[in-house]
């Protein structure tokens, strides 16, 4: 914003685009990511202020997170535990003697004008994540992970020509995950991010929402001729607020760089800002004018001496992750891979599913209900898995009464909608609204008699040998009983009456 944006015109003539498109295949795109993950701790990283979102401006602040003279940081242990948990889940080495460094730069959202981060001895190094690609599994290296504090937010008032600062976010803990330049296209990038997000959600350390900024992604991208071993000059892309924006920006930036190289120009080492509406990026600052952050060891915090027992305990407490769950569902529950994959994408869903499956004793049926009904309702209601509030037993009860033939599937689904929305007790609800099957012979006989009397011509067709007539009569009986007639009994009584 104050970096003096240079409005760089993107060259876009048809001929050039064509010629670039024709040689796209001769280039390889190289991508590395810097992902900031906002941790779901209750308090900030260096003070005991509330981290929750949406408080009144500057209400979640204290002398520490507003950079008052004399205030000192004290590290939140939870942050270290979360960082270790993520490090363990991504096969990192945990640096038992990690420490913090100061990154110095002046900006009003940064109350001390330095950010407490880690440069020289980050907490996690040398890890990796395995992602699924079209060509099978691929391992993406993780260079390092470090802990740091978030900055506040600037609020600009154009009319007053004033800027205000809200320090509620100042000091909210972040983990920055720096990957190796191991990704080659947008699909791999999205797969990596989905995986990272899923791991964080399984660890319950962050909700990783791009739109809300609890996950922020900077894309470092360069291109090189296929077969070349040297990396090209990279750019760093910022302001990517959705997976769609990331995909667009990667494709656009790769083409932009190839176009430059094909035109005999050079790619400049710079930071660019993506505009997802214009579908273009702009130069924010080149590395030549980049700031010197004057990193040095933070003297207000001592070096950490992490004990093996702490790391071991965190390792032991790691949850069963999606991959393991998926394998187990396929093996133990005999679910198709498709089901297993969908059910394990969210830990909350997976846990719900497992509970329902255990209660009804039929994982496949439970899976059908989740994939069919739960997912549909979540989508219709625009809800997230964490918004689900129905009691697992209620869904198990519904599955059971359907199996027992006590309700038809259509009605059962309608009942579940009520359960999903307002967590009503389903069996009571079915009774109250008369949705259970009627197997009372008297009631069925009465309905059959009425239908036989009303449809004399169809009865004649039946006797005339038309098989379809029987089905029609059954339909009429069910209609009269509003679908609640026990189909077996209806068939039996109707056949009996007709044959008499």
């Amino acid at each position: 914003m104050f970096d003096g944006n240079v409005n760089e015109k993107v060259i876009k003539t048809d001929i050039e685009t064509e010629s670039v498109d024709s040689c796209l295949d001769t280039y390889e795109t190289v991508i590395g990511l810097e992902v900031h993950i906002e941790l779901a701790t209750k308090t900030k990283i260096f003070c005991s202020c509330d981290t929750s979102f949406g408080g009144a401006v500057n209400s979640h602040t204290c002398p520490v997170c507003t950079g008052m003279p004399g205030a000192l940081p004290v590290l939140n242990k939870k942050v270290v535990e979360y960082a270790i948990a993520l490090g363990c889940a991504t096969n990192c080495e945990i640096n038992k003697h990690c420490r913090f460094d100061r990154k110095n730069y002046f900006y009003p959202d940064n109350p001390q004008n330095y950010q407490i981060s880690q440069l020289y001895a980050p907490i996690c190094v040398n890890g990796n994540l395995v992602i699924e690609t079209e060509d099978g599994e691929k391992t993406i290296g993780i260079h390092e992970m470090h802990m740091e504090e978030d900055a506040g937010k600037l609020i600009h008032d154009e009319q007053e020509n004033m800027s205000y600062v809200d320090y509620n976010r100042s000091g909210v803990p972040l983990i920055e995950v720096v990957s190796e330049p191991d990704m080659r296209n947008a699909k791999e990038v999205i797969a990596y991010l989905e995986k990272l997000k899923m791991i964080c959600q399984y660890l319950e350390i962050s909700d990783c929402k791009l739109q809300e900024g609890s996950m922020r992604v900077d894309v470092n991208l360069s291109v090189r001729k296929c077969g070349s071993k040297r990396y090209g000059t990279r750019t760093e892309m910022k302001n990517l607020n959705s997976f769609r924006a990331i995909t667009n920006a990667i494709e656009n930036e790769a083409k932009r760089q190839i176009r430059l190289l094909e035109n005999g120009e050079e790619v400049i080492l710079e930071t660019r800002r993506w505009d997802d509406i214009k579908m273009e990026s702009y130069s924010m600052r080149s590395k030549e004018e980049a700031k010197d952050y004057r990193y040095f060891p933070e003297p207000d915090l001592v070096e950490l001496a992490l004990e093996d027992s702490l790391i071991d305990n965190i390792k032991e407490a790691q949850p069963e992750f999606a991959d393991e769950k998926r394998e187990r569902y396929i093996k133990d529950f005999e679910l198709p891979e498709y089901d297993a994959k969908l059910l394990t994408e969210s830990k909350i869903i997976a846990e719900y599913f497992e509970e329902v499956a255990a209660l009804c004793g039929n994982p496949k049926k439970a899976s059908n209900w989740f994939i069919g009904e739960v997912f549909r309702l979540l989508k219709d209601e625009q809800m997230e898995p964490e918004d689900i509030k129905f009691t697992p037993k209620y869904l198990a009860d519904i599955i059971n009464v359907v199996s027992e033939g006590k309700i038809n599937l259509g009605n059962a689904k309608a009942v579940f909608e009520e359960v999903f929305r307002s967590n009503v007790e389903p069996l009571e609800y079915m009774k109250k609204h008369g949705l259970m099957m009627v197997s009372d012979t008297g009631a069925i006989e009465a309905a059959v008699n009425e239908v036989l009397a009303e449809c004399a011509n169809v009865v004649e067709d039946y006797y005339g040998g038309k098989d379809r007539a029987f089905g029609y009569l059954v339909g009429q009986v069910m209609k009269k009983m509003r679908g609640k007639g026990d189909p077996g009994k209806v068939n039996e009584i109707l056949r009996e009456k007709l044959e008499r």
């Binding site: 104050f2 002398p63 507003t66 950079g67 008052m68 003279p69 004399g70 205030a71 000192l72 940081p73 004290v74 590290l75 100061r102 110095n104 002046f106 009003p108 109350p111 001390q112 004008n113 330095y114 600062v165 010197d292 004057r294 990193y295 040095f296 060891p297 003297p299 207000d300 915090l301 001592v302 070096e303 950490l304 001496a305």
Partner: protein, 554 residues
Amino acid sequence: MDILNMSALELSKNIQSGAISVKEAVDAYISVIEEKDKDINTFINIDKEALYKRVDEVQAGIDSGKYAGKLVGVPIAIKDNICTKGIRTTCGSKMLENFVPTYNAFVVEKLEEAGLVIIGKTNMDEFAFGCTTEHSAFGATKNPVNTECVPGGSSGGSAAAVAAGMVPLALGSDTGGSVRQPASHCGVVGFKPSYGSVSRYGLVAFASSMDQIGPIGRNVEDVTALFDIIQGYDCKDSTCVKLEHRKKINVVGNEKCCDENILDELKEDISVDLCGNSKEDIDIDVDNTTNASEKIFTDKKSIEAARVNLNGKKIGIPEEYFKDGIDEEVKNKVLAVADELKKAGAEVEYFSLKLWEYVVPTYYIIACGEASSNLERFDGVKYGIRSENYSNLDEMYKLSRTKGFGEEVKRRIMLGTFVLSEGYYDDYYLKALKVRNLIKKEFDAAFEKYDMIISPVAPTTAPKLRSLEEDLSEEIKQPGFDTLKMYMSDVYTVASNLCGYPAISVPCGSECNMAKVSKEMNMPVGVQFIGKAFDDYKIINMAAAYEILRGEGE
């Protein structure tokens, strides 16, 4: 009763017994301040309304038996870089001339709990950068012994206030000698505790890895009583050490550093460590770590007790300290102390500190580096002065900081920014961190042999105020000369800060007694006792013992 000539401890006894009211005590001192401070310029701010409210509060507390302790009701002055809730805290800078903290420093809370009465905030070199208290936006403080001289600094206001009899006790802060050196120049006792003994929470940071708040008083016993109150663990300062860990000595650095030819290693790549407290603790049996001071003070201050305390103690004197650049009179007085201790039964010997010449450069690189970062928060955005007439953000920063900071502050920010810059960090800052480790290794090795090290506090007695220097030679007039001279005068004090050691300055020449002051008298000289980390009470004890022997000698 002669309130003004009582020790702080005596005063508190009389206040607690009801013989003197808190108001009488405060009134007595306020009248001294009103009489003398226009000449000496010790206080930046005295908020009388808040003061007398506090007087009533403390008196009521005493009457209802709320307080227990040795310094209940005693007036105290506080250096103006220690945050006081609702009371302006300027750091001697124009930048913070209107800054009112929203919270109390840990030590202020401790003083309030202990029933002391804060009289006011004392003058200092801006942000504690200096050793004369001339670099203050609120004018220079003068030495009460001789107002043509500086009081030393940067806690010059606090030392001068005690020396002038304006308060019985004061708090200063010591990053490179800022408590000990003004105490020495003013003829009072000043103590810099071990790094990690006293919480820094609420002390406006100069160099975070070396800052420590320290007490100043007329005698060792008063100073110890004040130290008892302010020391202790504080969870808000990560570098503050838990009491149970203080018995253990932190070994800073890497074993690799400690080889025969220590100087050659300056060129080698040695793993870096801050003077922090998180290193593996090595259990070393240390006696006298807890309130052992009790003993000598309760033994009726007898010569006998002092001799018992000193008998058989091993004391080292760094020979390099007495070679060049030291004033003959200072040298003689400090060495006379060594003789005195020897007579009392201590074993005194010279030893060599090879890294001596690296101490000042190492200190200034690290101190300025940290200071340049610590002072970044003064940007005109949140508090402090903001320049008008800026047209963009960068200009607002530049104009506000140009206007708010004095010359010496700007110089140190520039120095510190330079040593942390890309391309220079390795050669300056990182190297300084390594040398710091080596210096500590060398001192630690000395402490394996000696119970304490005895040294001068400053190479000279208090110099004349710069504004009064008439005979400025051509050499001195050159830009930077004075600054370098000033930095070099810290040579005896900065090592304790680099290594985190406790050190105390005790008068060993003309003891300050305002009744005896005359224009012709010599300026005071202090002797410094340095101990290993968390041997605070051990060196306090020895200082108390020396004080008793000195008293008898007169």
